[in-house]
Symmetry: C2
Subunit: 188 residues, 2 copies
């Protein structure tokens, strides 16, 4: 059975495309932090990395995190505390990978996700099989804005098949996509 | 195969519980509107009802809807327009059911959802089977706040099994839960 403890998620705010195809750093949004942390905790993933090189944005995430972990929020809603404990802020995907290597002693394999179909992508079932390997960490990369840069796709170890709803419309929010991915991998 | 056109969703803002177990009307949130509309459109459901008896809240939803359907948003992001076209505002669950009956000529069967397990709940597979019946509409009721009132559970035709992530933590956002439910019903 696929082991969720072998999986970490990175929500990447740079390098991603904007509407015009330019590379930008997107702003962190509060509900991305909460929703994906709650989904991640429900399915038992290892870490949820918020990746942004923008120092002010890192401070904002840390402020939200501490509010729920140590501030008034920790008493008001302990369930939210348990979810946000999985959050870690990193400046880049490389630093998130370095953190996984420090924790586990192994370099994580990267799995990139996107709404468009690509050649050589692996299915959810194949990824689920890979996550059965003992002690091999994986990092699932989720893009914000209009998606992860071509460079990230080219450098990743695996590309995951897009989620299809059966029709030609395929514009889930990153929060919804993350929830569905985790359920397909671990929710049975 | 389960027919998504037989399914509508109602996001219910009253009657739901607050943290203290009192019945309240919760506030509509912008991302509940967008995320669930996008998930609903991806899987091809019939309607997405936003249920609130609070007139000011109905006006707010209508303002958001029109911004994306007819205002600046329709040109800026046509994909969002396609999602928000499924939205309809109703004052109560009864009026959402009346609207379905007007459109289809049949009374919808109600399916209530919640995070806690209950006796006599049906599985996703069983609901998927029910959605194969030709021309029998179903209305999936999603609660906000701390969940739908006991009365709604008692009056509903079916209770859907809760989503489990395998562990003891089960606190998905309503946006994530809706996405996972639609994927389990229609996403293969």
């Amino acid at each position: 059975m696929a082991n969720a403890q072998n999986l970490s998620i990175a929500l990447v705010h740079y390098p991603v495309y904007d509407k015009n195809g330019d590379l930008v750093a997107t702003a962190v949004t509060n509900l991305d932090i909460h929703d994906i942390a709650r989904s991640g905790r429900t399915y038992g993933i290892s870490r949820y990395y918020i990746v942004t090189p923008v120092v002010e944005q890192q401070k904002l995430v840390e402020k939200i995190r501490l509010h729920w972990l140590e501030g008034w929020g920790a008493t008001y809603n302990p369930k939210r505390k348990a979810a946000l404990e999985t959050i870690q802020i990193e400046s880049s995907i490389a630093l998130a990978l370095a953190d996984i290597e420090k924790r586990t002693g192994k370099r994580a394999k990267t799995v990139v996700t996107g709404a468009a179909g690509r050649p050589n992508s692996i299915s959810f079932k194949e990824l689920s099989g890979l996550l059965e390997e003992p002690e091999q960490p994986y990092l699932l990369l989720l893009g914000t804005g209009w998606g992860l840069s071509k460079e990230i796709f080219d450098q990743s170890d695996y590309v995951l098949e897009p989620i299809s709803g059966g029709g030609d419309y395929n514009h889930l929010s990153v929060r919804s996509a993350a929830a569905i991915m985790l359920d397909r991998l671990f929710g049975r």
